[in-house]
Homo-oligomer: 246 residues x 4
């Protein structure tokens, strides 16, 4: 693998164009804030891609040169073309890391990787969230204390319809009474996947220091150490077999 | 749940019509042999459904009344219509059990549930297989000894591209030198899924006593104790929240 | 297996003798309340055993005839003799179910089964707890709604130092700001283990309808379907081997 | 964490003194061969410790300066003193990596971490073993092909009485007909644990290039990124609570 981790920060980039409040918070889009932060880190080079670019910005060439993709989408999951979803899905199975952010729980690619509905409860009431770090020895949790807080968030509540994570990293406490599995890792094919709950278009979540630290850690963790295609070959025996008459 | 487990034994039922050898072995189809065995068990009622029936035999009414489905397909995975796959997939997430047999590793529904490619190595050389029972306390393994053997099989070899199973029940040893995770369980949504390797159209695998015992045990294990739809509701807070001005 | 599940409800039974408040709540001990509830269920027969009985009430004969054991201890974990711990541990590995209640997280047997420290945070402030049911299709969660509440509890907070559970069933929300993995299952050897957080000597937790329902469900889930010793035999080859000269 | 990984290669070092054949193969002990190989790797410094040294070579100072420990024992597991086992176990929970080699499946520390019996089947017949690499994207499997072979080994067969591994990396095929989960990882406390089957005192297993590569990879994988003690503190509420009268 290359020493530099090549990240593609994908975002729907629609709310930012149509909602005044979102534009104020993220004038160049949430992806720009995330990519800028990643580009300030040693050994990471981040580019961006968005829904309304040709092929959603995800040409074969871009995909080939992406080690880790972060994904944010919300209002236009259905506009992501199926053939692009197929390609991103295939790249994850081949080894590309995927970091699904917030409302990406309902993105086509994440659901295709999970095999489940990925539904949850939600509420926009500006309440407090406290994310408990239950696996402090996981690479993604480095530099995060026992917990961190976000003062005003959109709430996501259980039951989150996902396969049991390989490892559950963060559990959220919400002021309104719910809990949520907010940081989860899985492996699918040769690729590593991280779902991270924080992030909402009308709130400055992607300026939060802890949120950015977790995303950065996750990029390093998800970078592939091995890549390969999945084939289904007919193979000769390794050991000598007796002749068999059908 | 009803006391009787209602099983739909689904099969492609093509090889049996086109290959003389297969017809000899399974004159009424593999599904008939499996369903007959299940119908001889207490508390199980099995019906069959096949590819060439209208809606592949899987109407809404049939799906609604199915607690557990077994699936065998091989040469015509692509002919299974996507809208039927969607319905079967949704039923598993709602709680229906699914038992994927042998070449069903490449069926659309199983792959959709796994989220991975489900590829493997294979060989038809009539070699011996020995299935080691590594979780004798699992309900599916009851009545199976330390191992059982199948004298002549099609070989499936690792790497099997699946998500890490919740529990690995059987590991196969093949005469030609390979190994395989031959019995695996997962949960997705509210449904239980069992993949079981044995079975090939040109071999009398579905007459084997141990194979039938495992399938019967799996039917009982996969029968739902809870069923429910997956929704994504906006919910009011349970605890009183301070007013929040956006 | 026998059709009737034979339960031994074990309890330290010290607080009840020394604290007036505890005696008022549980005049015959917490174990009596739990055992009475279980004995009112079809197909379950529960007996009790306590620390100050000879061999802590856990003679070989009692152990042999126990399908599922529930365990509550708090102030006197260290007084449980190591040879009894060895025997209970061995019985779990052979297939006996174990339900560790509340402060049993620090019991010798539970820690020996987990292999970890099983430490956690705690606080006695009579706060509210809400247990979210995140796996409604698990047998232990049957009859429990989306969540249930306990109005006044001792708080247990993360990080709970346990191995990743096979399945996480309940996550608690606490009024004071913490979360906790309050219902967890594991398998060790041939035995099934359930840790369930609720329960405190100074609070009427074991009279709560939902708590009792979960314990009853857990007893049914943990009842063994297979039992066996663990040996380490030297075995002859199954396949013919070439002669080997050392 | 330091950039250099400090490894303590622990070995019983008894067979090498008492069996002529073993002395010929490993004149300075198996540990010396493993440590020499590790010391030839960039960023790794390995020292050795053995049973017959004072405190088995595992003084507090040595433990404190150990990032990863490898363990080989066979004939004298019982001679390892319990207070040393306690210390090594505690260090793993605090973050130290542990690599248990071959017959270390029955070492006190490994069993204490697993919580199970760790029994298995075995045979010394000099047969062939083929280790299938089923997770090529795991850091421990880097540089290993689809499989590797060892021409003459002691056989270990299932059922291996361990908790379900977090990830199963290698499955062995044996010429005599058995299979085995030969490479398994778990996390306990803050520490990473790898069990690796190959290795026997009368065979030159620890000179094998693939075996040494796996051990080296495992050392890098098991090196801690976080370390911490496990405490059980009483904590004040984070959120304001109503007064509660007991």
């Amino acid at each position: 693998m290359a020493n530099t981790i090549r990240v593609t920060v994908w975002s729907e980039f629609r709310h930012e164009k149509t909602h005044e409040k979102v534009r104020e918070l993220y004038p160049d889009g949430m992806h720009k804030v995330i990519a800028d932060h990643l580009n300030a880190q040693k050994g990471i080079v981040a580019k961006t891609a968005t829904l309304d670019e040709p092929e959603h910005g995800l040409t074969d060439k871009v995909l080939e040169k992406t080690d880790v993709m972060t994904w944010w989408g919300h209002m236009a999951h259905d506009e992501v073309r199926d053939e692009i979803v197929e390609k991103v899905h295939a790249r994850v199975l081949e080894g590309m890391g995927l970091i699904a952010l917030h409302s990406a729980h309902f993105s086509k690619t994440f659901r295709k990787l999970m095999g489940t509905n990925c539904s949850l409860k939600w509420r926009e009431a500006g309440e407090k969230e406290r994310l408990w770090n239950i696996e402090p020895s996981h690479p993604i949790a480095q530099g995060i204390g026992e917990y961190f807080e976000l003062p005003h968030v959109e709430m996501y509540g259980e039951r989150f319809d996902i396969p049991t994570p390989d490892k559950l990293l963060f559990i959220s406490w919400f002021q309104g009474g719910e809990v949520f599995r907010s940081g989860c890792v899985w492996e699918r094919g040769h690729g590593r996947i991280f779902y991270f709950r924080p992030g909402h278009e009308t709130l400055p979540i992607y300026y939060d220091e802890n949120v950015l630290k977790v995303i950065t850690n996750a990029v390093r963790w998800a970078a592939p150490v091995f890549q390969g295609k999945h084939e289904c070959p007919c193979v000769p025996p390794i050991e000598k077999l007796p002749r068999y008459k059908k």
